[in-house]
Symmetry: C2
Subunit: 105 residues, 2 copies
């Protein structure tokens, strides 16, 4: 199955977070365009998550530890671990989840 990212309609899942979503049997991929200053409130989920910063500077808090991530940085978020974030600049991020993130469908 072939998908063009340019043909996926973005969804504003959280204010300031426009995501293009790809769901497979066991995974969800999310390609985000994030407005400067947009925040993800603390949350957690059963899905394992891998976040990659593609562009910009993203402040991210995992288990009460806050760091600023830049392109080339990857963060692994184990299931059920609380996390939150804030775009210090406009950002592009990619998340991969397993299992599929059903509530993003």
């Amino acid at each position: 199955m072939h998908i063009k990212l340019s043909e996926i309609e973005s969804k504003e899942i959280i204010p300031g977070y426009q995501g293009k979503l790809v769901h497979t049997q066991n995974m969800s991929l999310a390609f985000w365009e994030v407005e400067q200053g947009a925040e993800v409130p603390e949350h957690s989920h059963k899905n394992e998550q891998v976040m990659q910063v593609l562009e910009g500077r993203f402040e991210f808090t995992l288990n009460d530890s806050t760091n600023v991530y830049v392109p080339g940085d990857i963060v692994i978020i184990a299931p059920h671990i609380p996390h939150s974030g804030k775009a210090l600049t406009a950002c592009k991020l990619m998340d991969v989840f397993s299992p599929t993130r059903e509530e993003y469908k």
Copy 2:
């Protein structure tokens, strides 16, 4: 857990395919730098795979159907489906697998 892509040592898993690998509980991510002309022979595996072309032109055959993919193209490869590929130019590719690709560890 935080990883910098620049600090991951590449492994030449297939001739001409230098991969930086990130393994989590349920997923493996592979960031490939591929030499022009390098081929992946037909193979299959139990892991679901999502391939994204980041740079270059990549010829990919899935289930006897051959197409050329470019940046922005994503291909979903269901478990056990035979596939092969050839870099028509130098390429950067990203693969995500679930479950973890144990033989890449």
